[in-house]
Amino acid sequence: MIVLEKRPQASQLWSLATPVVAVLATMVFGGLLFALLGTQPVEAIRTIFWDPLFGEFAFYYRPQLLVKGAPLVLIAIGLSLGFKAGIWNIGAEGQYIIGALTGAGVGLAFYPLEAWYIFPLMVIAGALGGWAWAMIPGVLKVRFGTNEILVSLMLVYVAEQLLASMSLGLLKNPQGFGFPGSRNLNEYESANSWINQNAGLHWGVVAATIAVIFAYVLLNRHMLGFHIRLTGDAPRAARFAGVSPGRLVLFCLGASGMLAGLAGLFEVAGPAGQVSIDFNTGYGFTAIIVAFLGRLHPIGILLAGLLMALTYIGGEIAQSQMGLPAAAIQVFQGMLLFFLLALDLLTNYRIRLKSREVA
């Protein structure tokens, strides 16, 4: 009989080893899945994990890794603060949209003026937009005790409608021949988030890096981060230690909304280029997976974001080159999360084989 036994304290070894083992298990079982679909499993795995980094066309894919990874990391870092404290912001996608709208809105308002201060203003507006959108569930929770999971999630759909309305109305390109969508910010020098487009480097990558460092210092060296972790571990002990729960809710939701808003702004002013109806591609939801895949640890999230971006890019290559169905790639990505969460059990529990005979 297999018995799960709670460890007296979490295993350091396993908490580091689980992501690696989970990736390996995903490769094995994903390979099996691909083999059953009639594809060469080794080649499929190589296409997903190896080709984007070291394959023939890696010079094209590597920058993509930064472009896809940066928003994921930026949003996931913000979410992880709340998740650590047991505050569940599920609506990063909405804050991401609003950040893009407010940021792009400020930029477009200056068009065609060229000035150094336009982009910084857009950054501030994007951050404020995301922050304000997250404050709605925050204030409702603190003031009326509503559930932040529901409110933040519902606001995603509101934000999507707002996005559609903006790209068809207020922000529509006046010279766009009636097509929906705003002016392309990539063609507007002062409102552009690219640093080096060929290298995939835009200000979002810089912001994500800063966010990782900032979150690391906050959680490990600062009282506020300590209070966040304390609230997640033992809310009563946190109150005893002097944490004001309401203020913490506002901080965590505000910070995650702000980072999601920033991610939206950098995306709209760079890789996406314009506000359009289908501007959002689910980064805000995927970032939830990234946050957990990275074990809510800043460095872990950085690695997880890059890994997630890798499976996206690799998955696309596998789809186009090997004819793997998109569903198989999604199952493959799902496996990764599944194995990670399943193996996570080993951090806090150990498996023991026990004989059934009675003493």
Binding site: P8, Q9, A10, R221, H222, M223, L224, F226, R229, L230, D233, A234, R236, A237, A238, R239, F240, A241, G242, S244, V358, A359
Partner: protein, 505 residues
């Protein structure tokens, strides 16, 4: 008491790092009241868990009425006539008595029949209980009755009771003992776990003493002095705390006509509580658990904010001051619940030292944490209070209850409080550690601090406090000097028997 009901031979159970039970053997006779004595961590719980089928022994045998007894799970043990009343009740507040009892039964009878049986059993054994009352409204003593009646409905041959009197007033203890004696006369054996020696002397026929997992001796309690039993239990001569002569100073902390609503639905709100404690004084607050102790502590720690003037430290109103600011001005508290309230379970001892120590021990500067200093503080606590742990990086939940308690109390005492409020400071702590904690409290007082000690251990309160008051349903009795108080007077201050009747023996 001639025939043997349950016989234990060479029971051994080892956990990683500790041998909880090492070759323990003893017999329990039919109808015998058998005491199992021992300090915390002596292996009492593991032993009864083996009898109750919760833990399987590594080696050794148990024989029940001549037959090999190897319960694979509690259900099997119950089927063989073993019943257990745990120290912590497993009852649902929102359900009524009969529903709670039905939940624990294999095949519950229709509710009306069950209620009738509950009435019948409860009256036979002098434990009157209305089957339709909501458990959330019952006192701790009444809740225990629910647990006892739940066991009695199984018609047990052996009833195991784990520290049953810790939640009772002296009057309620008397009633419980009458019930237990009646059960024993009818042939039910009782395995009674406790560290309260006077109770064991009054109730038990026989005692087995465990120390560090080993059976270190047996005695007939009525013929052995409490001191001898204690020394058998601890293994060395006990040191009783000593109190230096005290000079009482000015009033340090004052509560004036305080009303505070409990944050939880089944908590007890405080009703016009007034008290004051002076420098160099210990104010003992007794009372059965759940009569407002947690709320009183929360009001003092700053977790519940009140009208500014209803709590005063050195005459300064602090009712609206939060926990951190109260610590800064010298009011420190140690709540009863160690895991999850006083300490964060998954955090290391260093982090838990930071939890309350950051202000007074100077463990942060401008919001940034000084982990090395925090670790030093944690090490200081571990050293000074003899906390048994591999080191300050171990998680709080890896410590035994008693060791964590020493850490939590030590953490506050070492911060040189001007006023210290503790709730159940020695709950679940072994005798020698309890003595050390009480000594630390008395030393603090000798240096001019004021202490409020909330406790359910009356012996403890009598030993260390200068004045005594009791909480009953959220009201605080008038504090009275401890010297000269009789057990009856204390019991009445605690609310008497809460309207309970004595067993009709």
């Amino acid at each position: 008491m001639s025939d043997i009901l349950l016989s234990l031979r060479g029971l051994t159970k080892a956990y990683p790092g500790v041998v909880a039970n090492d070759n323990v053997s003893f017999d329990i006779g039919t109808g015998e009241v058998h005491a199992l004595l021992g300090e915390n961590g002596a292996g009492k719980s593991t032993l009864v868990k083996m009898i109750y089928g919760l833990v399987k022994p590594d080696s050794g045998t148990m024989t029940l009425r001549g037959k090999a007894f190897t319960p694979a799970e509690p259900r099997a043990a119950r089927a063989d006539g073993i019943a257990m009343v745990f120290q912590h009740f497993s009852l649902f507040d929102a359900l009524n008595v009969a529903e709670n009892i039905a939940l624990g039964m294999e095949n519950p009878p229709p509710m009306r029949d069950l209620a009738a049986r509950i009435r019948e059993v409860s009256e036979t054994y002098g434990l009157p209980l209305d089957p339709y009352r909501t458990v959330g409204d019952l006192s701790a003593g009444e809740r225990q009755r629910v647990e006892i009646i739940r066991c009695l409905l199984q018609d047990p041959k052996l009833l195991i009771m784990d520290e049953p009197t810790s939640v009772l007033t002296p009057q309620e203890v008397e009633i419980l003992f009458k019930t237990l004696r009646k059960l024993s006369e009818e042939g039910t054996a009782i395995l009674y776990i406790s560290h309260k020696l006077e109770e064991i002397r009054a109730l038990c026929d026989h005692a087995t003493v465990l120390r560090l997992g080993k059976n270190v001796g047996e005695c007939v309690p009525s013929e052995t002095s409490a001191r001898d039993m204690a020394e058998l239990m601890v293994g060395t001569a006990l040191k009783t705390p000593t109190r230096a002569g005290r000079d009482m100073g000015d009033v340090a902390l004052e509560i004036v006509a305080l009303d505070a609503k409990s944050p939880s639905a089944f908590g007890t709100s405080l009703k016009s509580v007034s008290l004051s404690v002076r420098k160099g004084e210990v104010l003992g607050i007794g009372g059965v658990a759940g009569n407002g102790q947690d709320e009183l502590l929360a009001v003092l720690s700053g977790e519940i904010l009140t009208a500014a003037g209803s709590v005063k430290l050195h005459g300064r109103p602090i009712g609206q001051t939060g926990p951190t600011a109260r610590r800064a001005i010298g009011l420190l508290t140690a709540p009863e619940e160690r895991l999850g309230h006083a300490a964060a379970p998954d955090m290391s001892l260093t982090e838990n030292a930071m939890l309350t120590g950051s202000v007074r021990e100077n463990l942060e500067s401008r919001g940034f944490l000084k982990w090395r200093a925090a670790q030093g503080f944690a090490e200081k606590i571990i050293e000074a209070f003899d906390v048994r742990t591999p080191g300050p990086n171990n998680a709080a939940r890896s410590l035994s209850g008693g060791n964590l308690q020493k850490f939590v109390i030590g953490r506050e005492v070492l911060q040189r409080p001007e006023v210290l409020v503790v709730n159940q400071p020695t709950w679940g702590v072994d005798a020698s550690a309890a003595a050390a904690i009480r000594q630390a409290i008395l030393d603090l007082v000798a240096k001019g601090s004021a202490v409020i000690c909330i406790s359910q251990d009356l012996d403890e309160l009598m030993e260390i406090s200068d004045r005594f008051a009791a909480l009953n349903e959220g009201r605080l009795s008038e504090p009275r000097p401890t010297t000269g108080l009789t057990v009856e007077e204390i019991g009445l201050m605690m609310g008497g028997a809460h309207g309970m009747e004595v067993a009709h023996v």
